[in-house]
Amino acid sequence: MKIVALAGSIVGSKTKTAMLKTVEILKQKYPQHEVTLIDLAEYTVEFSDGRSYFEYEGDTKYVTETIMAADAMIIGTPTFQASIPATLKNIFDLLPVNAFRDKVVSSIVTAGTAKHYLMVEQQLKPILAYMKAHIVPTYVFIEEKDFLRKEIVNDDILFRLERLVEDTVLTVEAFEAIRRKKDEEYDF
């Protein structure tokens, strides 16, 4: 199973910290799976201009092709102006329609205050649904006060991250089983 952990912002530390922790849990619980962390801060990604994703070059091609090859993606996003950052939206814009068909996508969101706790429901999930993702229903919402000097200090968050990781992997397995069963019905 190929899992991509995507840190969707090019600034700040909270989302990156949460994603590093998530990757650590993934590697510890599921050493057999291939985990790739993509921190957008480390890449120079072009704005979407209408090309197919594989026609770009350099970082843009690497990032989009790595996502397209994955079975699951865990998206980490901060909250900017009551929504996801433009850098993350650009990744979605670079990908084709139905890009997340047969992929599982789960979310981790960081925010300055609890006022943003529905941002994922209102902003991110509709995009993922449109792109045909199997969305893991629960997500982990992490506030400013849950971090201290680039560490997560709230045990509840750590437990929830563990559960999110498990749910993501199990959801991939569940949908693989469904797809296998459907495909067995077809003789082409």
Partner: protein, 351 residues
Amino acid sequence: MENYRIDPSKGMEFGLYSLGDHMPNPLTGERISAQQRINELIEASKLAEQAGIDVFGVGESHQTYFTTQAHTVVLGAIAQATSKIKITSSATVLSVSDPVRVYEDFSTIDLISDGRAEIVAGRGSRVGAYQLLGVDLQDYEEIFEEKLELLKKLNEEEYVTWQGEFRAPLKNANILPQPKNGSLPIWRAVGGLPASAIKAGVMGIPMMLTTLGGPASNFKPSVDAYREAAEQSGYDPKTLPIATTSLFYVAETTKEALQGMYPHINGGFLAIRGGGYPKQQFAQAPDTRDALMVGSTQQIIEKMLFQYELYDMQRFMAQIDFGGVPFEKIMKNIEIIGNDIIPAIKKYTAK
């Protein structure tokens, strides 16, 4: 309809078209040479003519996995190799060419073929041509509208005076050679959505509409919008032909058809779109109501008649070679189309 060389009393026309895609056969992983691919297209046009197919089209795409970038040259060879079948582009990416050169080329093909050439002008759904040929994608919409208007004018007037934004002006220009009977059928390629269909209607130009899959009823709004826009712009929709196009694979049984087509449609979509064709959706495709033309002979006939009732189109164009389909499968499809499908369709649709 006569302007467009279509005689509805003979029933709906059946055509074949190719994008000239050049992909490995997914079953063997092997890819034939570009030379063989082009020669097989010319060979297929001869077989199509012998099978009683009305039209043969070749399109252009300027990027990896394609081989008929110089589609007018291939169409010229087909003009020479055949004697009855109509010859069209499918489509000509007009935005990246000079309409004058396009008109000169197709008029020449019309003379070589003794009055069988047509143009289908489109914007192209792949952007490779724009980069390669130096056309700014920012002008995607406007450049096409302007060039199509000019192409239409070249077709209607013997001496043309014209001025626009994307090409040097023409002063009383006489475009030579002229087509055999003074004009060519010029169609607009429409990608499925009503917005582009409306533009075709406003211009009073025949429409070739892609209906690549999903429920056929999804494309009905585009057909209606086209006719409504034509009428509002002062054209009689009854004089404007509509063609629809779809991927096509027929076999003796449904199972054989699904098995024959799936590796190619899936591999082809993977190569040019970066995502395959979902099996669940493909399994629904033989249903009469689905636009994707895959199934047994009888299922295909029923699908075509269903669509004929729905759209009242004058022509159907089938793409039978997408995704590295080997030539023996192409020949088999042409054989079934000629022997069984065309007679049934003509019998029902001839007036």
